[in-house]
């Protein structure tokens, strides 16, 4: 389950920041996660509690901004939302699409407690 290693990476980032800012712990964490990022949201949920135990995130409130997948058709220029990485343009049925968003996997902000 790579979601656990994702959580561990988030913990690492948070601990670094807490150290850097000489804070006590994290009050709130905001994540941007694309629906095409290869993350199962349920599995992330499941991994979260185990992963943050005894860390600066142990009691942090978590907000996940789900960023929906978007592509632009290279033929007709239409922008459309996708739920899978490779979906054809609804108009031309073509698979040559330009990726716009949905693969985000980042910590957007941390609210530190001092």
């Amino acid at each position: 389950m790579h979601e656990l290693s994702i959580v561990m990476s988030i913990v690492d980032l948070a601990e670094e920041q807490v150290k850097k800012h000489q804070a006590r712990e994290v009050d709130r964490i905001e994540l941007d996660i694309g629906t095409l990022a290869g993350i199962e949201f349920d599995a992330l949920d499941f991994a979260w509690d185990a992963g943050v135990k005894h860390s600066v995130l142990a009691s942090a409130e978590r907000q996940i901004n789900r960023i929906e997948g978007k592509m632009r058709c290279m033929k007709c220029g239409r922008e459309f939302t996708v739920t899978e990485p490779f979906q054809p343009c609804p108009d031309c049925n073509d698979y040559l699409n330009e990726f716009i968003q949905g693969k985000e996997l980042r910590v957007k902000s941390l609210t530190m407690k001092f």
């Binding site: 389950m1 790579h2 656990l4 290693s5 994702i6 959580v7 561990m8 990476s9 988030i10 913990v11 690492d12 980032l13 601990e15 920041q17 807490v18 150290k19 800012h21 000489q22 804070a23 006590r24 712990e25 009050d27 709130r28 994540l31 290869g38 991994a47 185990a50 992963g51 943050v52 135990k53 005894h54 860390s55 600066v56 899978e84 990485p85 490779f86 698979y95 040559l96 996997l105 980042r106 910590v107 957007k108 902000s109 941390l110 609210t111 530190m112 407690k113 001092f114």
Partner: protein, 271 residues
């Protein structure tokens, strides 16, 4: 081997050379990665402050992968990351390749599995140096594991490193190891819609090997359909069809490898 990095990363991972039973062990307990070393302030106030980070969660892995890539470039090493479902024939492909080419090139193998030394031992039987990474519960190799294995192996200049990833078409797609090329293997005993089901892996691979073609007469696997599905995810992906056990089609794989080796030599001249 390196001067810029700490190699003491903890993790739930053991790294063991084939032929040795000495194990570097650090059990995986979630959250044990870093003890709470942050300064604890006195007089518990309730001040809070928002820090905008916009930081990539996989940033560390990517940085370590770049570092591995530096190692490879400086030493003229070619590294290939082999990914597939369990049982598609990664180890069989390596065994035959090493037996056929070991007199022409210097090879090393890093084997990734959740448990056992089996694959490293199979490789060691060919006479090639192999190291086993056991990821425990982990479902993929990451750049840091590869880095630690590299320090242990100390590969020679101008050699070829094969990395056999944990059998899994999902998770390894996310983790760059610093490889020069990623090779996805599917076998004809799997569904030809694998590339449709696991598009990320095919999108991030440069080569797709269709293995076990000796079994094509017995299964309902349409090679052209599998290719069409893989091209949806990655229009520029290349294909090879072969059988690692009968040897059919292996020469196309060797040609592909020799071409990569020639390209690397070309780059070395230019640098």
């Amino acid at each position: 081997m390196c001067s810029t990095c700490g190699c003491d990363q903890p993790g739930g991972v053991t790294i063991t050379r084939a032929g040795e039973d000495q194990v570097q062990f650090s059990p995986l307990t979630p959250g044990s990665g870093s003890p709470l070393a942050y300064p604890h302030q006195h007089g518990h106030s309730h001040d809070t402050r928002v820090i905008e980070m916009e930081m990539d969660i996989l940033g560390k892995n990517d940085a370590r992968a770049r570092h591995n890539r530096d190692h490879f470039r400086k030493q003229g090493i070619l590294a290939f990351n082999l990914v597939s479902s369990p049982g598609s024939g990664k180890t069989a492909l390596l065994e035959r390749t090493l037996n056929d080419l070991k007199n022409d090139h210097r090879f090393y193998v890093i084997e990734g599995d959740q448990q056992t030394m089996n694959d490293a031992n199979r490789i060691a039987a060919t006479g090639v140096e192999a190291i086993q990474i056991n990821t425990g519960k982990g479902c993929h190799l990451d750049a840091d594991m590869i880095h630690r294995a590299l320090h242990n192996l100390s590969p020679a200049n101008d050699s070829i490193l094969f990395i056999e990833n944990v059998g899994n078409l999902v998770c390894p797609a996310l983790f760059d190891l610093g490889e020069n090329a990623r090779v996805a293997i599917i076998s004809v005993t799997e569904g030809d819609d694998k590339p449709l089901k696991y598009p990320d892996m095919f999108a991030s691979s440069q080569l797709c090997i269709i293995n076990k073609i000796d079994l094509l007469p017995y299964v309902n696997f349409k090679v052209e359909r599998a290719k069409e599905y893989a091209r949806r995810a990655n229009p520029s992906i290349q294909f090879l069809e072969l059988s690692a056990t009968t040897g059919l089609g292996m020469s196309s794989w060797y040609q592909w490898l020799e071409k990569r080796i020639a390209e690397r030599k070309q780059e070395a001249v230019l640098v």
